[in-house]
């Protein structure tokens, strides 16, 4: 079915120009409609996620449905406050005056979503777009087709389709969308397509948020509770879409004398979580498709890592499953260390001093997240100050996404812009500066013909120099 792109854009611009999405009532009605979708169709959504990713119900609930609902409820609760203009202090320089910053929507916006958390990563940005009063088109990922179809159906039923639309499709549809003029584009995905989105946006001077990824490292220090650390690493890696997440722990760094205990702790907890034959566990998502399965297989079969696999390595091609796999002391130039793994493989690099891990991390592109497990305050401070990443977590993994007062976004190769909580509202808003001046107190020194006396006065005024002002006024 060919999409009438021009017609769709015309309709959206018309709806936006009518002022409807700008009203508080409309935004609340749409946010409530999104909540209804999550409440009444939980089963349908979980089924679609199982179909696309074999995602366990537990993960579907925690990482997709509950997260989306929590985001929506926060927006509903705080929207009035977010929409209020922010008063700004003005100085002697512009006296008398008053200033404020007014948040206004950007207009007609585009959200391009990813396949790994296809429900959450579609609707979380849409919540921001709607809360900020925009019209929005959602393009879900075609690599998660069941969820894409469910979103199209459910949003079509519950939302105001004159302002909120879902466009399904693959590369041709995405390309056609990117040729249109948008007032904001929000993209979640990889760096290669991120560049394509940014280049397309440049033609129309469209501002963009790019939520990309990277190799998120985990530094594991000594003298910590290794069991708890292991569980949290496993929970963040394999317990979260089987390593297919933008903030997934990608690789570990630990000291040479700590490595074997760490590996033992991981092995022990992995068995407790997934049993002796993890390929049979129902608590692991599968690899999304055969493309990615083959990609991961190549990382495993890379001769540079042969002999380095200390746990796992089993695969089931028919069911697109790979067992949780740990590789110890892989070379820095192996395939697994040269791309974002996005799968159930975990390389461990070892160093002599734990501080060296910081240099190792900074030698690579900035990741979306970096993690540290330590009880050493000094190391913690060093890590926080010196490791640049989208976000950092100490003594846990991935949980910073659940804290909505923290901005979630990348830096460098891991992206630009941020969202979650009020940051979502801000990402889809223009912050308009408003200055009110009075007619009284007009200063002749502003206007030509200019003179040294006028210049003196202005200098004093602009420096907030009250004494200088008085001197200039009395002609000193």
């Amino acid at each position: 079915m060919a999409l009438d792109m021009e017609g769709m854009m015309k309709e959206l611009r018309g709806t936006y120009a009518s002022g409807k999405p700008k009203s508080y009532e409309w935004r609340v009605s749409q946010l409530r409609a999104l909540l209804k979708i999550a409440d009444h169709h939980e089963k349908e959504i979980a089924e679609a996620l199982r179909c696309d990713l074999n995602k366990p119900d537990h993960e579907s609930f925690v990482y997709e449905i509950a997260s989306m609902k929590s985001s929506c409820q926060l927006a509903l609760k705080q929207l009035k406050g977010w929409m209020k203009p922010e008063k700004v202090k003005t100085s002697l320089t512009t006296f008398p005056s008053s200033g404020e910053i007014v948040s206004e929507p950007l207009g007609v916006t585009l959200v391009i979503s990813a396949w790994n958390f296809p429900f959450l990563l579609s609707l979380d940005p849409v919540i921001g777009a709607i809360a900020a009063g925009n019209a929005v088109v959602l393009k879900p990922s075609e690599i998660a087709p069941a969820t894409s179809a469910a979103l199209s159906k459910l949003l079509g039923e519950y939302m105001d389709t004159s302002a909120v639309k879902v466009v399904e499709g693959a590369v041709p549809e995405t390309t056609a969308l990117l040729e249109q003029k948008w007032d904001k584009i929000f993209y979640t995905g990889n760096g290669k397509v991120g560049r394509i989105v940014l280049t397309a946006a440049a033609k129309h001077l469209t501002p963009v948020v790019l939520e990309l990824g990277g190799k998120s490292p985990v530094v594991v220090d000594k003298n910590i509770n290794l069991k708890v650390a292991a569980r949290r690493i496993i929970g963040g890696k394999w317990g979260c879409n089987n390593g297919q997440a933008c903030v997934s722990p990608d690789y570990l760094i630990t000291t040479k004398d700590n490595a074997s205990q760490l590996v033992d702790a991981l092995k022990s907890e992995l068995e407790a979580f997934y049993g002796k034959d993890p390929l049979k566990s129902e608590d692991l998502s599968r690899i999304v498709n055969s493309n990615h399965f083959n990609r991961l297989k190549n990382l495993l079969d890379d001769e540079k890592v042969s002999g380095k696999i200390v746990h796992g390595g089993q695969r089931d091609k028919t069911n697109l499953k790979i067992a949780p796999t740990i590789m110890l002391d892989v070379p820095g130039d192996s395939l697994a260390m040269n791309e974002e793994i996005f799968g159930p493989l975990l390389p461990i690099l070892t160093v002599y001093k734990v501080e060296d891990s910081i240099d190792l991390i900074n030698a690579r592109e900035k990741p979306l997240a970096a993690y540290l497990f330590t009880n050493d305050k000094r190391l913690k401070e060093q890590f926080i100050r010196n490791v640049s990443a989208g976000g950092l977590v100490v003594n846990d993994t991935i949980l910073h996404l659940a804290e909505h007062s923290l901005p979630f976004g990348g830096v460098g190769e891991s992206g630009m812009g941020a969202y979650h909580g009020k940051f979502s509202f801000d990402a889809f808003s223009h912050k308009k500066a408003v200055l009110q001046r009075s007619f009284a107190g007009d200063i002749p020194a502003r206007y030509p013909p200019y003179s040294p006396g006028k210049l003196k006065f202005l200098k004093a005024l602009l420096n907030g120099d009250v004494v200088g002002l008085i001197r200039a006024l009395i002609g000193w």
């Binding site: 100050r385 308009k432 408003v434 200055l435 007009d442 030509p448």
Partner: protein
């Protein structure tokens, strides 16, 4: 520092500490424009330095004296291992754009803004684009001293700011038809007082930056419909690149003078039946960097704020938002994106790094596989802040779901 509990945080995160740490982006590039060549180079530089970055500033080659001043003086005072001034034209700019920067800050035209952003896309470099647009003045009915002050502010703002060559410069005026004659008369008087009687006695005003722009602005007056609408001025001095302050009354709306950013000392006055029509007029055109409104009507102020979009809105003055550091300075739509001035400059050159700190104790079993009905119910209750339900569940007094397929 933020505390858990400011967000809708489920029990699962307790105890924890959350904060945002600003850090420098790295090596950044600043392109300055030619019209305010010192401040548009140094103001962004202040932001880049305060945020802890290393910086390259490329001043505009169209203001060569200022460019060489900056290239000469900046290294004498600043650490030139970290802060460099690179002079040159578009060939130098192209070479700079091939490098990988952690941020690019550009002030200039939308046309070049597109080129910058496309180049930045190759390295996923975030950009701030400070562009321009046709910034209108809306003049409501005013009289007496208010009108006199208004006329001064319009004259001072238009011709007293680089002869109209400013991104927030006044481009044109929208006014009710019956007020136009008074406005024109008062403007003429004011121009003569401020800038001189005619082209020969012109003073206190900048020249046009170069021959190209001089010809461009003069050409705007070539259109016969436009030439016929000149009510004051229109003379120029080609040798000294001066154009006298010129007022036009209702030039054709489809002429270049009304479709392109003028960036010069020509001031079209467009008359309307009613001042409220100005809102529709502005909305039919690309978002400007600033809208200036002279009015005492509170309802009209609100309506204008709600129904138009621009980088900023200033009531009862012109240009002055530029020195108000509490307000973000930046555009929207075709007038750009990103912002600076005051703390916004620091922010624009920073990465706000999110940090979450957790402790090892208080492990929550339901986080981990193998999943079962109990764990799912626990998490569901935690997300709903249903602590009583949680307590009952833990005491075994709450019905558990044991089937995997029922969520």
């Amino acid at each position: 520092m933020l505390h858990i509990g400011q967000g809708q945080l489920p029990l699962l995160l307790f105890p924890a500490k959350a904060e945002v740490l600003p850090e420098p982006l790295g090596v950044v590039l600043i392109f300055a424009s030619w019209n305010f060549p010192i401040s548009l180079a140094l103001d962004p530089l202040i932001g880049a330095i305060s945020a802890g970055n290393t910086v390259v500033v490329k001043p505009s080659e169209l203001a060569p004296a200022c460019s060489s001043f900056l290239a000469r003086i900046v290294p004498l005072y600043l650490d030139n291992k970290a802060i460099k001034v690179v002079e040159g034209g578009s060939d130098v700019a192209e070479k700079l754009l091939e490098q990988k920067w952690e941020k690019i800050f550009f002030t200039g035209s939308p046309r070049v803004g597109r080129i910058i952003m496309s180049a930045a896309a190759k390295h996923l470099t975030p950009v701030t684009l400070e562009l321009g647009g046709k910034c209108p003045i809306i003049l409501d009915s005013l009289s007496g001293s208010d009108l006199k002050v208004t006329v001064k502010r319009i004259s001072g703002g238009k011709w007293g700011a680089c002869a109209g060559q400013a991104c927030i410069g006044i481009d044109y005026v929208l006014v009710q038809r019956k007020l136009a004659p008074v406005l024109v008369e008062l403007l003429q008087k004011c121009i003569k007082t401020f800038y001189g009687e005619n082209i020969k006695n012109l003073n206190s005003i900048c020249k046009i930056v170069n021959k190209n722009h001089f010809e461009r602005v003069c050409n705007l007056l070539e259109d016969p419909g436009v030439a016929a609408s000149i009510v004051y001025g229109g003379s120029f001095d080609k040798q000294n690149l001066l154009i006298e302050p010129t007022i036009l009354l209702d030039p054709p709306l489809d002429a270049a003078i009304m479709t392109e950013e003028i960036f010069g000392p020509l001031l079209p006055i467009i008359t309307l039946n009613d001042v409220e029509e100005s809102i529709e007029f502005i909305n039919a055109r690309p978002n400007p960097l600033a809208i200036y409104v002279f009015t005492k009507n509170k309802t009209f102020k609100e309506k204008l704020l709600q129904e138009t979009s621009s980088g900023s809105v200033i009531f009862n003055d012109t240009m002055i938002q530029f020195i108000c550091d509490g307000l973000p300075f930046g555009g929207v739509g075709q007038s750009g994106f990103g912002r600076y001035h005051g703390k916004y400059s620091f922010d624009t050159f920073s990465h706000e790094k999110a940090i979450l700190q957790r402790s090892f104790f208080l492990e929550l079993e339901p986080r981990y596989p193998p999943w079962n009905g109990f764990k799912l119910e626990f998490i569901r209750l935690a997300y709903n802040f249903d602590y009583i339900g949680l307590l009952l569940l833990l005491l075994g007094l709450r019905r558990r779901y044991t089937s995997r397929t029922v969520i």
